[in-house]
């Protein structure tokens, strides 16, 4: 099977909105939002192998950049995508500074966790821009003057953005940059000894991951239409961890599977607050114990085309 056949998947998705009611369409859109989030997170944690827990910070910064530019400056949504990606990428490069200084493992996790919480506090306190803990309403989005006023219209824009980020990240991972990431994950010291400029690649991976997640944030802003700091707390971090762990660490297909499951599953028990946390917690535990490569490794058993080549256990 040729990997180019994967292009049939987005094509096959094109007519799907015709059969969906508005609620199902909204859930599907949310799943699409979380695919770039999973891709960016996976790049740093799965492929580069560094414990960076600041993914929610990039997500929130992307979402607020998009929302604030629309609400305060009246910019159309499509023009805010690149600023959102830039802010996310910048935050990623900032979060990589401790990694460059040799902070690793749990220490890096704690620092980046604190960075994410600091950002959440910023959304709460910078009330003039963000509306504080009450949150802010995001104006109606549009694409080159075409109003994205229904979830069905957003779906097609989101689908295009997901395909774009997936393709670009796939390209990146198959270039010398991606190979350098894998070398750093395998053995950082020997990678450096072989002439890989590890510092530069670590910054690049963080920045790319942050930018992709920032795009996811811009999508999130118009998908929910209302931003509040609660959406970017530690619970959200664990939800995003669940995406990459359940889907499969370091796997692009895993990010898609994870995003779909983590978005659709809570809808089943949405009326019981806490039940989703309980189920995700148990799900992550079971995956780590019995399926350490995630659900995408089951697909790889079905057909080798699904084998991801970017992960080293």
């Amino acid at each position: 099977m040729d990997r180019r056949l994967f292009w049939l998947v987005p094509l096959a998705l094109l007519p799907v909105p015709l059969w969906l009611n508005p609620y199902q369409q909204y859930v599907l859109n949310t799943a699409l939002v979380y695919i770039p989030v999973g891709i960016g997170f996976n790049l740093v944690v799965g492929n580069l192998g560094l414990l960076a827990f600041s993914n929610v910070a990039y997500f929130g910064l992307g979402a607020y950049t998009s929302g604030v530019l629309m609400a305060q400056l009246g910019m159309p949504w499509w023009m805010t995508i690149i600023p959102a990606a830039s802010v996310g990428g910048l935050a990623g490069s900032i979060a990589s500074i401790p990694a460059l200084r040799g902070v690793r493992l749990f220490y890096l996790a704690i620092m980046t966790l604190a960075f994410g919480e600091l950002m959440r506090w910023t959304y709460i306190r910078w009330e003039a821009l963000t509306g504080g803990s009450m949150g802010m309403a995001v104006p109606t989005a549009d694409l080159l003057g075409w109003p994205l006023d229904s979830d069905r219209r957003k779906f097609y824009v989101f689908l295009a953005l997901v395909v774009l980020t997936l393709t670009l990240t796939d390209r990146l991972m198959r270039s010398r940059f991606g190979r350098a990431f894998l070398a750093i994950k395998d053995n950082e010291i020997s990678a450096a000894a072989m002439g890989v400029a590890t510092d530069r690649y670590i910054v690049l991976a963080f920045a790319w991951g942050g930018a992709v997640v920032g795009i996811g944030g811009a999508m999130f802003a118009i998908s929910v239409g209302h931003l509040s700091p609660v959406s970017f707390d530690l619970t959200e971090l664990i939800r995003q961890f669940a995406i990459i762990m359940v889907g499969g660490l370091g796997s692009l297909i895993g990010a898609i599977i994870g995003a779909a499951i983590i978005t659709v599953a809570p809808q089943v028990f949405i009326s019981f607050p806490g039940f989703d946390e309980l189920v995700f917690g148990i799900l992550i535990v079971l995956v780590i114990l019995f399926l350490p490569r995630g659900l995408s490794s089951l697909l790889a058993r079905v057909h080798p085309a699904f084998t991801d080549r970017f992960y080293r256990g």
């Binding site: 493992l105 704690i110 664990i238 946390e277």
Partner: protein
Amino acid sequence: MLTLLPQLVVSGTSTGMLYALIALSMTVVYRATTVVNFGHGDMVAAGAYAVFVFSLGFGLPFLIAMLLAIAVLFVAGFATQHFLLQPIVAGPHLSLAMMALAVGYTLRGMLRLEWGNETMNPSRPYPQDVYMFGTVVVTTDDVVICGFVLVLLAALFVLLQVTPLGKVIQATFQSQRGAALVGINVPLFHALMWGGGAALGALGGVMLSMITPLTPDLGQWTLVQGFAAMTLGGFGSLGGAVAGGILLGITEKLLGFYVNTVFIEITGYLVPIIVLMLRPQGLFGRRMTVRV
């Protein structure tokens, strides 16, 4: 302005003692197993809720409720290590961190499923009073928290320095392989330390529930404050955790009063970032890591 300094130090020490207890319970687990328990905050919250359930739900006396909560959390911590972490102990660090995080997440889900998002204010088991020392106001909360933590610290010190069990603990802290060679059951020891850490955390939760309202999200804040105290004192140092906790409590109050009130909220976030950038070994370095 300066006349308030002693007052700030006193109330900062009281909060700091709480941070110290939480950081200490995290350090016990970290030192024994070299795994950082990212679910520890939720274990602390679960401990606070357990006391709430046993004392108000079942109408038991407070002291018995507290002992039961400690027992429950000990079992939970023991089981987490024995059934969930031991099987993947040779795996990547990410899996270990995620496993702890997922256990915490599950606990938080259980709390939220039962109690929703409401906050609760458990009543104190002692009358509230205020003592005046010159201009310094000391509340019963301050006295109870400081006294309780100090007694615990003394007990821990005796346990580690004097008892045979303490020798086993110190031996395993120093070298797991060496301990295994002289016949210490290291996996059992790890599970016991996880149980002990969770039980200590539950005690922290009990103290915490007296001064702040309970919500299922209490664990998030607790985790970050615990990390801040640990990094400030020097990661993995038991004495450092205590000193770091107290220092964090005082710093937070001083910065909050003399610079800007926002520092009460963000000191816990800034401390790990600044300390790990400037002095990764923390204030007390590595030399203190072996003894209390």
